[in-house]
Structure formats: structure tokens, C-alpha cells
């Protein structure tokens, strides 16, 4: 599979995750969100950027429980809970946000 943005092709896997992490830019995230009928707000970007930093540091995409805890620690309790994260990413915060962030599917997600 592939994603086409402004004439440039981005390779993805069968579930729509970006094949090469280094291909990512903000346009990729916007396009993926658009295909899901999701408008990216600052709150979405906060999570997406957080995930990219997490991956940079640990080389893994965190499972949802770990993401929730880590967000709570970094951005506060009002954001570190599944209700808030599911409102932003109804397809599953770890799965959907990782996809927009250009990360592989989180380890521990089935």
C-alpha cells in the first residue's frame, strides 16, 4: 500500500502504518487523519509529538496503558486518562496516534 501526497508516494504496510519512519512529516499525519475524517487539533498534535519523542528515546511504540501513564506524567492528569485520549483518537489512542506519528503499530496491540 502507499499514501500519495502532492505527487510524492509514501510506502505503508497493509494496515496503513508508514513503512519508513524517516519518511514522516506533518503532511503525512494530516493526510492520514483526513482519510479517517479526523480534524487534527493542537491536542492531537500534542499526543503525536509526544509519541515521536517517545519512539526517539525508547525505539518502541508504547502500548495504550503505557502511553496513558506517560502522558499523565508529562501533560497532567486531565490528559493522562483513557477518556480524554479516546475522545481524540476514537480508533484507539495508541494505534491511531502512532499511525499518524509515523510509528509502527504498538507492541502489545493485537
Amino acid at each position: 500500500m502507499a499514501l500519495e501526497i502532492n505527487g510524492k508516494t509514501y510506502e505503508t504496510d497493509e494496515e496503513g502504518y508508514l513503512a519508513n519512519l524517516s519518511d514522516w512529516d506533518e503532511e503525512v499525519a494530516r493526510k492520514m487523519a483526513e482519510l479517517d475524517d479526523c480534524d487534527l487539533t493542537d491536542n492531537h498534535w500534542e499526543v503525536i509529538n509526544f509519541l515521536r519523542e517517545y519512539y526517539e528515546e525508547y525505539q518502541i511504540a508504547p502500548a495504550v496503558r503505557v502511553l496513558t501513564k506517560a502522558i499523565g506524567k508529562k501533560l497532567g492528569k486531565d490528559k493522562g486518562n483513557s477518556k480524554y485520549l479516546y475522545q481524540l483518537f476514537p480508533y484507539g489512542p495508541a494505534k491511531q496516534a502512532c499511525k499518524y506519528a509515523g510509528l509502527p503499530k504498538p507492541t502489545g496491540c493485537v
Partner: protein, 135 residues
Amino acid sequence: MSEIKKFMYINRRAPYGSIYALEGLEVVLIGAAFDQDCCMAFVGDGVFQLVRGQDSTQTGMKNFSPAYKALGDYDVNRLYVERESLAERGLSEDDLMELTWEDEDDDWAEKPSIRVVSREELARLMEEQDVLLNF
């Protein structure tokens, strides 16, 4: 809710040159994501997985050693390293990465995850587990 089982993931191989270490780590994270009681053991060449300052560029594999630092976030906070295996390879605890976890019940105090144990102690710990998985 099904009952929680005690899992020990035993790592016996060097980190690069085969896929065992990386796959083993993924399996641990999956087990932990399903709220099982997970610990890890490092024996034989498996102790090399925890050596600090890894550089995998010559191997053609990703350096995945930073991922061990995430284990604490997954509540995997008991990493048993066999003392004899370290000594046989000319290594000591100082050659290993500093891995910590945060104790929620102790005001998020950072505590070390690595515990160097003797072969005898490790055998006893293995006895206590419900499931042993070798990688």
C-alpha cells in the same frame, strides 16, 4: 478476568546476529500489556543484551537496547542477571545499562530493575514461575 500467571522470559543469546533477543523483548512487552506478572532472566550470552553503549551499525540491525529502558513503564521491573554468566564473560554490573522503574506506592521513587543473582538463586526463582519462556 482470567487469573494472572507468573511469567519468566529467559534470554540466553547475544542481542545481534539472531532475532531472538529482539523478538523475546517484544513478547515480554505483549505479556506485560496483558497484565501478566512478568520478569526476565539474562543468562549465558544473554547478559550482553544489557551491556551499556551498544553500537549495532556494523551488524545491519537496529540498536534496540533503548527499549529495555521502557520496561519499567510496562511494570516489568525485575531483571535477573546471572552473576556467573557476567564473570565468565569478563563483565561486571558496572558494564550494564542503568535500568530503573518508578514505584507508584513510594511517591514514584526511581528504583533499579537489574538484580544480579547467583546461578543457585536464579534456579530457585525459576521454580516459582508458572511459565518459563526461552529466547
